[in-house]
Symmetry: C2
Amino acid sequence: MEERQARTAFAALSQETRLRIVRLLVQAGPEGMAAGAIAEAVEVSPSNVSFHLKDLEHAGMIVPRREARSIIYSADFTGLRDLIAFLMKDCCAGHPEICAPALAAAQCKPSTGKKKARA
Amino acid sequence: MEERQARTAFAALSQETRLRIVRLLVQAGPEGMAAGAIAEAVEVSPSNVSFHLKDLEHAGMIVPRREARSIIYSADFTGLRDLIAFLMKDCCAGHPEICAPALAAAQCKPSTGKKKARA
DNA sequence: TCCTCATTTCAATGATTATTGAATTGTAGG
DNA sequence: CCTACAATTCAATAATCATTGAAATGAGGA
């Protein structure tokens, strides 16, 4: 991932409404949510949510698709993954001791709420 | 990591000069660099670098220490790790298939530039 | 103490960014 | 074709952020 693209993504995630949208859409999964539903969920005006959705799309954090009269947005997991990779490449370059704890802290592997933590 | 703190960190990293400073300090390692040296490296005025350094410190991305007449800044690896964890927790929540590729993309384990990729 | 160097603080300016409400585009159904 | 609805675009305003240069702080050395 290019530095410029990474900065755009960081800027996108630095805004309260936009970060809430991303988290909402990550929760929603590939199914996604209509712009109107997102606006309602995060409690902002339609025109304002549209503004932020466009910014997030431009930043590669979400992806839109049309469905009847609605436009459905879903999280762009590839973009999110690339951003994480960018950050890790930076701070793990010569500092692998940082990565491992990050993974643990993210609880990436343990199945959340399930019985067994690992195979 | 709190959402507010994460947003502050994202905002800090979204600015060109500040991102360059962070990458520079990650490269520099725990030894760190003096404010003046940083200013010279990223080619901005002393007062401007001071402005950005303060912002990065506030965001928990760097940490200062005094040494004789200089103030030495170094990357805050804990803060960086926490930010990565925040991002991963968000996008890996129920989507572990994203994490693994992120790690690979970050080339977290392979020793960069060395002969052997793995033990 | 006096002088110098390293850095920060301050106030002012310019540049981005967020928010609002009205007007517009595009889709579907009667 | 006309109406209703979903979402976006647009222009204006308010708010936040970045940059600059001058002045202040603080640590050492002569």
